[in-house]
Amino acid sequence: MNSSTVEASKLSKAFGNKQVLQDMSFGVSPGDVIGVLGKNGAGKTTLLELMLGFTPPTGGAVRIFGHESYSLPGSIKARVGFVPQQDELLDQLTVADQLRVIASFYPRWDSALITRLCEEWGVNLYARIKSMSVGERQKLSILLAFGHRPELLILDEPVASLDPIARRQFLEQLLSISADGERSIVFSSHIVSDIERLANRIWILKEGRLDWQGDLDSLKESIVRLHIRGAGAELPAMAIPGVLSLQRDGAFATAVVRDWTPEVQDALEKSASVQIEVEALGLEEIFVELHR
């Protein structure tokens, strides 16, 4: 895997004596769309802000395009876009002014794209920011990160305040950004259905560690629910590898397992003389099961 876009090894972060992230190693390749899932307090924002150098790591290192995040040079910063969880808009400006101010910091700014998106997304160029709703502010924050056509786009809960139509428009735009296969996107969201559409890789953050890191497809094939039926009246005791949860009910059992493969199924069926039916789980179910 070409980890040239972002690369982290044994990254950890503590605030005082509270350890937020530990021992995280991951990579982002060009063309990746990575969905970051995790409970509140799992460290998603900390992870994203560490990646961008807003805060120094307490252990390990993280690099963007080969440069250490904490001391990114200007040439790399111009290739990165960020949508923070709390917007950084200036209330007293109009939308057009805010766009102009941010545009002035970049040597290349695609005004045509921004104008078109403002029209498509219904952002009023001449509205004053302090009079805008939360959704409109979020749309503007997203636009501010698109204008300089970054190669790495990092978004922290970018659609939390958007209605389904606005979310769909945003997803479509992200898709067309990543379509060329050269740009990478990392975004954290609670809206699992959006991640299922958009991401090809998933990071699941649990208690400060990367509980899962891999393809979305593999994830769905690897974490499944088993419906087990025994021959007799009572199901024999079995050692189920990678079990996350197990419920017995006489001759039946339901188990959610991880790292599932057909070989494991064969082995289990033979060793315990049971019949196993595999149920695939959606991402939201997988997330819930992983946190039981």
């Binding site: 802000e49 805060t55 001391s71 910063k77 990165v80 969880q85 101010v101 910091f105």
Partner: protein, 445 residues
């Protein structure tokens, strides 16, 4: 013209409240006029007239509100000569409100004297009376104009900036004419000149405003759609300042102006004013600079700054802002020195103190990169106490200038120390810890 008349009529009678006030005021004034010209002169009757005038004025208070709304709305632009008619209606209202003053004041001054009709036959006395009427009338026009302007600010902006602007105008209006009257510099020609200038400037500005706005919007659109920007990573000064919040020193100055004016009027005695000045400029400029760390977060990814280069740029930007405020305050200090007759040596000792206050508070503010903790509060209190001590020292008439300057130099050294600490903190700034609220959010995310 009918539209203008209807507008003016609505200003005075548009709502039930304004109808009540207008008619009540008119009745009072008429009654008092009759009393004034038939009864012997007396002070109380003048008060009744004043009351009538004030009530009448309040009855017309719809004018600034409607003026603002209509000016901003579409109708003014769509109707033929809409803006001009609106302007005319405002001017006519001002004149209407001033007329009773021009009538009642001389009536009050000349009333009750049976020899008046005889005296009036004398051309010189007639001229004098006419002059008086003219002066009172034009002063009332000016005063009413300013009051309406203040009301327009307060009602149309509906935020702190508008309130301050309105209060500022009111304060100026109350104090400036008072001074004129005291120094007897008021004259008919001067009033007429003021009216001519102010009304033409306001009128021109008001009428040309839509054209100006259209030009600005067009300019925005042109700059916005398509011209490639040839900036190479660094920024032109202004945008940086806008992001940091240091682009507009006027906001801070306006916030300072009103209490300053109140202080000079009512406090008067200089040690108190001093304290006020210094405390104010310290707290406010320091508070302004303390926002820099938080707001610089949005700048981290936008430009080719390392953290230490960012500190240098932020420092420059903060000084671009604070030096303007300091300059104005120094001028104000000199002005107040004139007004309150400070001695030259006191002025000499005090001006550096103002600069020091700003210097120290600026760097105190810049030191706040991890939210306001007890340590920073402690620093701030210590610096404030030092400054207050200096103020008391300088305010004493027999202050030894040598001592004062030595202590001031000490404070300069302290400022350098604070700068050193601020710069070191900025080279390690951690934006997840910048705001206490943010720290909580960081822990939870």
């Amino acid at each position: 013209m009918k539209a203008v008349a209807r507008l003016v009529w609505t200003y005075f009678t548009g709502t039930l409240v304004s109808r009540v006030f207008t008619s009540g005021g008119l009745i009072l004034m008429t009654v008092d006029f009759c009393i004034l010209i038939t009864q012997p002169r007396s002070g109380e009757k003048l008060w009744l007239a004043m009351l009538g005038i004030i009530i009448f004025f309040v009855g017309s208070s719809l004018m600034p509100l409607m003026f603002g709304r209509l000016a901003r709305g579409h109708s003014a632009g769509v109707l033929p000569g809409g803006r001009f008619k609106l302007l005319l209606s405002a001017y006519i209202t001002i004149l209407l409100v001033a007329i009773p003053v021009g009538v009642l004041a001389p009536a009050g001054t000349l009333s009750g004297d049976s020899s008046i009709p005889e005296l009036m036959k004398d051309p010189r006395i007639r001229d004098y009376v006419l002059q008086l009427v003219g002066i009172v009338f034009t002063s009332a026009v000016l005063f009413a104009g300013w009051m309406y302007l203040a009301m327009w600010f307060v009602t149309s902006q509906r935020n702190m900036a508008g309130l301050f602007k309105g209060l500022l105008v009111i304060t100026l209006v109350i104090f400036a004419p008072a001074r004129e009257i005291r120094d007897l510099t008021v004259s008919l020609t001067w009033n007429l000149q003021q009216i001519a200038v102010i009304w033409s400037v306001f009128g021109a500005g008001f009428l040309l405003w839509p054209r100006f706005k259209a030009a600005r919007a067009r300019r925005n659109r042109e700059r916005f759609t398509g011209v490639a920007r040839a900036l190479a990573g660094k920024t032109a000064g202004r945008e940086f300042d806008v992001m940091l919040g240091t682009s507009n020193p006027l906001l801070l100055l306006v916030a300072l102006a009103f209490p300053l004016l109140v202080a000079t009027r009512f406090v008067g005695e200089f040690p108190a004013v001093w304290l006020y000045f210094l405390t104010f400029c310290c707290v406010l400029t320091g508070a302004y600079s303390s926002l820099a760390a938080e707001r610089s977060r949005a700048l981290w990814l936008r430009g080719d700054w390392s953290r230490s280069a960012l500190f240098a740029s932020v420092e420059r930007s903060v000084w671009r802002h604070n030096s303007v405020v300091l300059g104005v305050l120094l001028l104000a200090m000199v002005g107040i020195g004139e007004y309150a007759h400070f001695s030259a040596r006191m002025l000499l000792a005090s001006l550096p103190l103002l600069a020091l206050g700003t210097l120290l508070s600026t760097y105190l503010g810049l030191m706040i990169t991890r939210g306001l903790r007890w340590l920073e509060i402690g620093y701030a209190i210590a610096v404030m106490l030092m400054l207050l001590f200096m103020v008391r020292l300088v305010a004493r008439e027999n202050a030894d200038l040598g001592n004062v300057f030595a202590l001031e130099l000490g404070l300069v050294a302290l400022a350098f120390l604070l700068r050193f600490i601020a710069r070191r903190r900025w080279t390690q700034i951690d934006w997840m810890m910048c705001r206490s609220g943010r720290l909580v959010a960081a822990r939870d995310a």
